[in-house]
């Protein structure tokens, strides 16, 4: 039998989330194989094999302590009894306030060094964080409610990441600096022990004349919490005016533009605050105010008191709540390719940090292909094009024509060279497209075509080493489907 992997080994997936307050890790084992119902490769029957308690993200003033993080990661890998070579995919992300520290990018590099090629590591990637939170918390719930739009608000220490999805697919994402930890207090009191730049702006914008060392009065706490609740309600209502004010503009990092037509979205929560909300909704007592030294419990109380925000708390409950991002990182950040790839030289992989320079459709004409390849030619280390077909499976004539046009366009590239040109296509047609474009590997030996990869609006992509004939693919630097400035 040819090597079509109907049945495969289990693979290990890893997720690491370094957030404003805490850092989490997750290791899952999943079966990589063909879903006989959909005909696509997928991770099946995931099992969480390691889920340590979250730890406080180690900060040293405005910097993340890299040595402490390195120790943390070594400890996680040791406890999970997993080596970096065993890791098939997953992701690591530095989020919220941690992503805004001076050395956040150094941290991402450290993660890549420690965990290996298989895991995409990124910092300050708010749309990706929103996407991951949705997938991690309510992808299953969303698929179980076909046609229902679900708006997930992932509320952590530094940011709120809204993501709207339907049928398990994310439609819109955003990010704002609404979080529990912009103001930090002595636990059990409202004596201010620290504030982020947004915390200071909040105090100023709301005319709360307190600084570090001072104690907020109840009315002042309520004022701050109310502002956040109004912001969350504005996100739900699609009310852009809230973020048009001076303070609103400052708080909004990535605008969230969702569909406002149609029936109201079901609302779910994730993140640390989300976990408190659902615990309280199920009858558990909230922790005492500022128990964690922040506004988490107050925010949760505010959400529970808001008719708009609390309307679906009992009827629409996500599978995972507190650690949605790390769940999403582990199980959803890696896409699995199809099995019939055009990969004449498998040793070209892995490829990291490949810019996604263009997205073309199967009906693209020569001019469009020429333009896309000009952009690709400008990247000396290789580039990626996304190829989207309207049809589930393009016809023979479509593939022949596209292959011929691509071949001709590649001949006209400004610097054809040998830098890899990766085509990611939605259809199960990678080998045919590649063979027609290269005349069955006679020309254009730098072309790689990876198929059955969903269309994703992103700036960069990582391609892992092939295993069992499939390639793990991870996107980062997510943009809105309508296009963000890179």
């Amino acid at each position: 039998m040819d090597r079509l992997p109907h049945h495969m080994d289990r693979v290990k997936l890893v997720g690491l989330d370094f957030g404003s307050t805490t850092s989490s890790a997750l290791v899952a084992s999943a079966r990589l194989g063909l879903n006989c119902a959909t005909g696509r490769m997928e991770f099946g029957c995931p099992e969480i094999v390691y889920r340590p308690e979250p730890v406080f993200t180690p900060f040293d003033g405005q910097r993340i302590r890299l040595d402490a993080v390195a120790e943390l990661m070594d400890g996680w890998l040791r406890e999970a009894a997993i080596s970096r070579d065993e890791i098939f995919g997953g992701g690591a992300i530095v989020t919220g306030l941690a992503a805004r520290q001076d050395n956040a990018r150094e941290l991402a590099a450290l993660i890549e060094t420690t965990i290996g090629d298989a895991v995409v590591a990124t910092a300050d990637d708010p749309r990706l964080e929103s996407w991951l939170s949705f997938m991690g918390s309510c992808a299953g719930l969303s698929r179980a409610r076909p046609g229902q739009t679900i708006l997930n608000l992932d509320i952590g220490g530094g940011t709120t990441n809204p993501a709207l999805g339907r049928d398990g697919n994310v439609l819109a994402t955003g990010c704002c600096f609404i979080g529990a930890r912009h103001l930090r207090f002595e636990p059990g009191t409202y004596r201010l022990t620290g504030a982020s730049e947004f915390g200071h702006a909040l105090l100023d914008g709301l005319a709360i004349g307190k600084r570090v060392g001072g104690t907020l009065r109840t009315a002042e706490v309520m004022k701050a919490v109310d502002f956040y609740i109004q912001g969350l309600e504005a996100i739900v209502a699609g009310d852009a005016s809230f973020f048009a004010s001076d303070l609103g503009r400052l708080v909004e990092q990535v605008p969230f533009a969702s569909e406002s037509n149609g029936p109201p979205h079901a609302i779910t929560f994730s993140g640390g605050v989300g976990e408190l909300v659902y615990a309280a909704a199920s009858g558990q007592p909230l922790p005492t105010q500022t128990f964690y030294g922040d506004l988490g419990a107050d925010l949760a109380q505010g959400i529970l008191a808001s008719k708009i925000l609390s309307r679906d708390l009992r009827s629409c409950v996500p599978e995972y709540r507190g650690r949605a991002t790390v769940q999403g990182l582990t199980l959803h950040s890696t896409e699995v390719s199809g099995t019939t790839l055009f990969l004449p030289t498998p040793t070209l992989l892995p490829l990291r940090d490949l810019p996604v320079v263009a997205s073309v459709t199967g009906a693209a004409d020569r001019a469009a292909l020429d333009a896309a390849l000009r952009l690709a030619g400008n990247s000396g280390r290789g580039a990626c094009l996304q190829l989207v077909w309207d049809e589930a499976m393009p016809s023979l004539e479509q593939i022949r024509r596209f292959g011929a046009d691509l071949s001709a366009a590649m001949l006209c590239m400004p610097s054809p060279g040998m830098a890899p040109l990766v085509l990611l296509t939605t259809a199960n047609a990678g080998k045919a497209i590649g063979n027609y474009a290269t005349s069955w590997q006679q020309v254009h030996k730098n072309l790689i075509v990876i198929d059955e990869i969903p269309d994703r609006s992103a700036q960069f992509v990582n391609l892992g080493r092939p295993r069992h004939g499939v390639v793990p693919v991870s996107f980062y630097g997510l943009t809105s489907p309508q296009g963000d400035a890179p």
Binding site: L4, H7, C36, G39, A144, S395, A432, W440
Partner: protein
């Protein structure tokens, strides 16, 4: 615990030369040479026996044979063990002679006709006493003398129960084996199919899965998963993964929960050893291991599970000239040695070469059930079929009604009757519950109490058991709707869980039946050359002169018809392509127009020469070798329709068999060394599952062209090529 008698201690009479049995019926003389021929002619006509020339030519000849057979005494049968091709009684025959000689002594002078009359006339307890005195051949001979009513009546007297964790076969019960198969052993699908089955009151006999991959790791993992499901749901039953007995023994050795040990049996030693890789010695060892190490052994009197079915020996061409019913009875003689918990009969599974019609399948099932019971076995039945036979779901349902009346211990529960891995059709949980309600039966007693506690059944004040509020609702075992949805996402042919009483809702039945109809049509449709695109073919005939001949006789489609063969001579092409309908002409119609042009483009661009493609209606896989021998290309590509399953789209599935004609010399020697087969002439690379929802035809054409290049470049195909490619990849890394 039973003590297994050593084979050498079992006395078998010395074989005798065949004698001629003669009779004159209505003035017409009839003669049968040897007991095998007489037994064959005495049976109702079935495709397999016709194929090997054992069936009577007409009804009168059959009655002539039955007349002779009725007059033979049991001593006569005892004295003439049926022999293999070397003239010896093989080990299976020998085990059949492990009988109670005291009982036999009382029967020996009686004719088969007299014994038949006694079975019908005596009380159940007296009939049951006969079982230890009979060999399989005697049981088969009796079955051949009985009509349908007699088979049902006699079987009903012979109800036989067995016990592991639950009791199966107790009077007033009808159990089921839940078979949650999946083409890739996907645990999510297995979970949902187990939940669905349990919610219908199925699985009280067994949760038993046929695995896709027979490795110790995989089987152990599935066993542990089934064990987890059993514990999680609390269902009192037992579990089994139906892998090879050697694999299960290795799993048990490593601590996996092998509660019930399974093996398929055959009625001839050659089939058992050469095809199933099993000997009586190995089965003895497995039984001993279960008795000492099996998780249920301390408390369960029985723990072995066997499957049989008429025709397997014939389909392998290793039936020793014995008819299908008799070889089946010989399996029971072997199964009896191990006092099994379950014996399941899957007659109908193979295809039209053994059972073509509903009548043939129903009769064989009734015979098998009777013979098994007569030999003291706890018989479950799986009247089943494939779509390339003429057997239908209605015929299968008639079989189940008769078998339930006859007291079958259990049926299968394959969800909606469609086996998602084995591409055949069996009974479902709806059938099992319908039969319970029609015949006033209940599940196994231990299981019933649990099912009542879960609301699957209710017990009224009068003690009557009825379907409960949770019957047929797998959601009761899921933690959330989302979990149910997640599990459902990987289940092929999931047409819905809605029910109407104990039956699937009409909307569900319509989807099932429509898909089956389209799938069956794929088999019976003739190839239409105009639907194959623009590439010109040269047409050749195979040895099968018609669709019927093609389906009934697999061998006939494996070679070129004589007239065409004479006109063919070696050509100088690298590759010769054949397009053949195989078991689905629709697969050819739907894939070839896109696949073949890509393949031809690929060969052309890689400078690989190809002869004008051949169109060969009624072809089989091995036709590649006949073409290879005639035209002498380096490689033959046989593009051929696969056996249809229960899904209309999947029934358009094509396979590509790349048959590499091994050249003499170094390459052939390497292949001999690799395979261990000194006679190897062809090596095969297979690319399967070619259809729009699997491997799309355009992509398949491209893949095949690449594989051809690799085969010619490395002078190897199949696993030898894979090893070469794998070594190359590792070296590059």
């Amino acid at each position: 615990m039973i003590v297994l008698k050593a084979l050498s201690a079992i006395a078998v009479p010395e074989p005798k030369p065949d004698e001629v049995y003669e009779v004159s019926l209505f003035g017409r003389p009839y003669a049968f040479s040897g007991l095998k021929a007489l037994l064959g002619a005495a049976d109702l006509s079935k495709a397999g026996d016709r194929l090997c020339g054992l069936a009577a030519r007409d009804e009168v000849e059959r009655e002539a044979a039955r007349t002779i057979l009725s007059g033979l005494d049991l001593q006569h049968i005892y004295d003439r063990p049926l022999v293999d091709d070397s003239g010896r009684a093989d080990s299976v025959m020998r085990v059949n002679y492990d009988i109670d000689h005291e009982v036999f002594k009382t029967l020996a002078p009686l004719t088969l006709g007299q014994v038949k009359d006694q079975i019908l006339a005596k009380k159940p307890a007296d009939v049951a006493k006969l079982s230890r005195g009979l060999t399989g051949v005697m049981a088969a001979a009796l079955a051949k003398l009985m009509d349908v009513h007699e088979l049902v009546l006699a079987s009903k007297k012979l109800k036989r129960s067995a016990k592991a964790r639950t009791s199966v076969g107790v009077a007033g019960t009808l159990s089921s084996r839940l078979q949650p198969n999946h083409p890739t052993d996907d645990l999510a699908t297995i979970t949902l199919l187990v939940y669905a089955g349990l919610s219908m009151g199925s699985g009280d006999a067994l949760l038993g899965l046929n695995p896709a991959i027979d490795s110790v790791d995989n089987i152990s993992a599935i066993l542990r998963h089934l064990d987890h499901l059993r514990r999680e749901t609390g269902a009192p039953t037992q579990i089994c993964v139906l892998s090879h007995v050697k694999t299960q023994m290795a799993c048990l050795e490593q601590g996996a929960p092998v509660e019930i040990m399974f093996q398929s049996l055959a009625g001839t030693d050659r089939t058992l050893t050469e095809e199933f890789d099993v000997t009586v010695g190995l089965l003895d060892e497995a039984h001993q291991m279960m008795a000492t190490k099996g998780p249920l052994a301390p408390n369960a009197p029985q723990f072995m599970y066997f499957e049989t079915g008429q025709g397997s020996e014939l389909s392998y061409g290793k039936h020793n000239g014995i008819d299908m019913t008799t070889t089946e009875a010989l399996c029971y003689g072997l199964a009896r040695r191990y006092d099994p918990f379950m014996v399941n009969n899957v007659t109908g599974f193979i295809g039209p070469e053994t059972h073509r019609t509903n009548f043939e399948m129903i009769v064989s099932n009734l015979q098998d059930h009777f013979m098994g019971k007569l030999m003291g076995l706890p018989m479950g039945m799986a009247p089943c079929y494939t779509l390339h036979s003429e057997i239908t779901v209605e015929g299968q349902q008639m079989a189940t009604e008769l078998l339930t009346a006859a007291g079958a211990n259990f049926f299968m529960d394959v969800y909606l009757g469609i086996d998602r891995m084995l591409a055949y059709f069996d009974t479902c949980g709806h059938d099992d519950q319908t039969l319970r309600e029609v015949h006033g039966l209940k599940p196994a007693p231990e299981y019933l109490e649990w099912a009542i506690s879960r609301g699957i059944f209710t017990r009224g004040e009068d003690g009557d058991v009825e379907r409960g509020p949770n019957w047929g609702n797998p959601r009761i075992f899921c933690s959330s709707d989302a979990e149910l949805k997640r599990l459902l996402a990987s289940v092929p042919a999931a047409y819905g869980f809605e029910n109407a009483g104990p039956r699937p809702a009409n909307t569900v039945s319509r989807k099932v039946k429509a898909n089956m109809a389209a799938a069956r049509e794929a088999t019976y449709t003739e190839i239409v050359p105009e639907r194959l695109g623009s590439i010109a073919f040269r047409r050749i005939a195979t040895g099968a002169a018609s669709k019927t001949a093609h389906l009934d006789s697999p061998e006939s489609g494996a070679h070129i018809a004589d007239a065409d063969l004479k006109a063919m001579s070696p050509e100088a092409s690298d590759v010769q392509i054949i397009v053949s309908d195989g078991l689905s002409a629709e697969a050819v119609h739907h894939n070839i127009p896109d696949l073949l042009p890509v393949l031809m483009d690929g060969l052309d661009r890689q400078r690989i020469s190809a002869g004008k493609p051949l169109l060969a209606p009624y072809g089989r896989v091995k036709l590649a070798e006949s073409v290879g021998d005639a035209l002498c290309p380096k490689l033959v590509i046989n593009l051929i329709g696969e056996r249809p399953g229960g899904d209309a789209m999947a029934s358009r599935s094509l396979s590509a068999y790349l048959a590499y004609r091994l050249p003499e010399g170094e390459t052939r020697e390497a292949a001999v060394r690799f395979s261990g087969n000194p006679d190897i002439r062809y090596e095969y690379t297979v690319i399967s599952n070619i259809y729009q929802n699997g491997l799309p035809p355009v992509e398949a054409g491209s893949l095949i062209a690449e594989r051809v290049n690799q085969i010619l470049k490395f002078k190897a195909a199949g696993n030898r090529l894979e090893r070469t490619l794998s070594a190359g990849t590792q070296a590059a890394e």
